[in-house]
């Protein structure tokens, strides 16, 4: 095509330049058609997938509860310098807006938001509403009469932190950090740190599962790639059938196998290794068994497809030149499979860090990964900011790994072509 166009460009006659324009038009038409074919899916995904996820990520910095329920107070308290108590106007607007907030569920929303600042805030708000006088000469005094806490700057500082439209508190909290009253970032108290250990646990489980999958999957893929096609196709069924079997079926099967009266315990007792059944399920061991089983095919299949393309002659040549067979294997064969190792490892790791169902079913409370906490904050406590913040970090990690995966796989294709 380009060659044809080049010759067209060289010829000076008017007729060919008309042809050139026609060609260009045809090419443009083709592009428009191509885009028109892709557009329905792209629009579908943007509406049902991209926007919802973007919207969810936005919730990790969204802080508009107070602005929506108490617009005047929120605006005024942001201008307060925070040194002494706010002026009477702030107190008055707060008193009026908290009275109006009872209708339409506004009180519940600001109560939930302010409770993140101080867990006694909701009680303070309901108590204040109950004793709020109809009229007052000085709302500053009236509110302080209801509760002395309205005379403390820390109470108003909490309201001030809830006033801007965005906040970094959820993102900070998701890595066990917070802002103190002076606005400086600091670590939360030792006994309240949970998320760093959740992330550490997630990476540990995902990394462990990935390494075990590589350890089990590499020899198996090697066997499948070196056996005669008939035999290897037969054995491949052993990999593909579990791969196609429902994740829930396999998870259920592992609970059955690992429970105290299950096959594994019975086998261990009969062979005399143990006397009493050991706890293998609803703990970390169960999580590892089930996750390795579910993810192993994702390691074996990419390795197998790369190993299929590796010629055995190099290894043989190395041996014939006097290398020890193991040296030949490690130094000649394994480096040729590195793209498969990379693809399988990253694929398994990406899938493992997002796991939710399997740890929820076969793990104990201390084996739950980041996904579990995202689901927990969404469904159980309605702390959407926290769910979104943890979700954002998980998504970021996944996308970064996927980018690396993409680069590696593309390079592999380049090498092949």
């Amino acid at each position: 095509m380009t060659a044809a166009m080049a010759t067209l460009e060289q010829s000076p006659s008017g007729k060919t330049s008309g042809l050139k324009a026609q060609l260009r038009r045809a090419e443009r038409l083709r592009k428009i058609k191509a885009v028109a074919l892709i557009a329905p899916l792209a629009i579908f995904l943007i509406i049902i997938f991209v926007i919802p996820i973007g919207n969810m990520l936005w919730r990790s910095i969204d802080n508009t509860e107070l602005q929506q329920v108490m617009p005047v107070t929120a605006a005024m308290v942001q201008e307060w310098d925070g040194s002494d108590l706010p002026n009477e106007a702030v107190f008055a607007s707060f008193a009026h807006e908290i009275r109006d907030s009872r209708s339409g569920g506004g009180l519940g929303r600001i109560g939930r938001r302010l409770n993140y600042e101080d867990p006694t805030f909701r009680t303070l708000l309901t108590n204040t509403i109950r004793h709020l006088p109809a009229e007052a000469d000085s709302w500053t005094l009236a509110l302080q009469e209801i509760s002395p806490r309205w005379g403390e700057t820390s109470t108003w500082l909490a309201i001030q932190r809830a006033a801007p439209a965005t906040t970094d508190r959820y993102l900070l909290a998701s890595v066990d950090l917070k802002r103190n009253d002076a606005g400086k970032i600091e670590a939360v108290e030792q006994n309240q740190r949970i998320y760093q250990s959740v992330f550490k646990r997630t990476l540990l489980i995902a990394g462990g599962v990935t390494l075990i999958c590589l350890f089990l999957g590499f020899p198996l893929a090697y066997l499948l790639a070196t056996l005669p096609t008939g035999t290897s196709n037969l054995l491949l069924i052993f990999v593909l059938l579990p791969f196609w079997t429902s994740l829930l079926v396999r998870t259920a099967a592992w609970i059955v196998m690992l429970q105290s009266g299950g096959l594994v315990n019975t086998g261990l007792i009969m062979s005399g290794i143990i006397d009493t059944p050991i706890q293998l399920v609803f703990n970390r061991i169960g999580v590892f068994f089930a996750m390795v089983h579910i993810l192993l095919p994702f390691m074996v299949l990419p390795l197998y497809s790369v190993m299929k393309g590796v010629s055995p002659s190099y290894q043989r040549a190395a041996v014939s030149l006097g290398a020890h067979p193991f040296a030949a294997f490690w130094q000649v064969y394994v480096p040729q499979t590195i793209s498969g190792i990379a693809a399988g490892t990253i694929l398994v790791f990406i899938m493992a860090i997002g796991y939710y169902i399997t740890p929820a079913l076969v793990g104990g409370p201390s084996d739950q990964m980041v996904s579990y906490y995202v689901a927990y904050y969404t469904n159980t406590t309605n702390n959407w900011g926290m769910a979104a913040a943890l979700g954002s970090l998980l998504l970021l990690a996944t996308l970064l790994l996927y980018l690396i995966y993409h680069k590696l796989v593309n390079q592999k294709q380049l090498v092949r072509s």
């Binding site: 074919l37 899916l41 995904l45 997938f49 919207n55 099967a253 059955v256 939710y356 689901a375």
Partner: protein, 274 residues
Amino acid sequence: MALQPYSSPVEHIWFWTFRIFCALVLIFLMLPVLVIIPLSFSSGSFLTYPLPGFSLQWYQTIFSSGPWMDALKNSMIVAPLATILAMVFGTMAAVGLNRADFPGKGLLLALLISPMVVPLVIVAVGMYFFFASVGLLNSYAGLVLAHAVLGVPFVVITVNATLQGFDYNQMRAGASLGASPLRVFFTVVLPQIIPGVASGGLFAFATSFDEVVVALFIASPTERTLPMQMFSGIRENISPAIAAMATIMILLSVLLLLVMELLRRRSENLRSTQ
């Protein structure tokens, strides 16, 4: 690692260690699938060996029970619809991607594949809020749309791969003989890429038929799918009824595997005749 007549004893030992290791890994892969099947025929009510006796009572339980049959019915409504949606959108997009080069194509492809990469819980939470705001929460339509999104990448990838070997001169030939683009697609292109479309569709179907995370967030008990029923069954009261349902689902996977193999052979045959 083949054993040669001249191999040393050490190599013999390694050879057999390697073989036994691989056999153990294969057993590890197959055992859970095989262990659960006999338990579904248990006459007892515990999921333990040895079986007290043979009985079909648990199959009777699931086939006569409201929740299991409703769940199966719901899955049979949602999965095919989601698959059709994913196949139509996915095939169109894959054909478009192969037709022309334009700026941003790589980014677009990344977008189309992304539902496969993003952790399910994030998809689930995002859709939960979105569907709540547009009134699709707790509806069949919402579930179908969500599962179609999750199935689309498989169709795009498989059709895209099938189109790699496709000769576009055939389309020009069809057009020069006076056929409309749509007719060219259905009579020339589609018969050749159908193995890719179908295997992408099977992946999409299996995804929807096995998907539980998103369903748990966006569906109510009325739209409870089979995986949701399995999930609550495993969580609350794990009985041989679960094993019976699992056996039926394993049979389905065998069927899927066979169809995939047939499709693979068919596409290989197509390629070798070209």
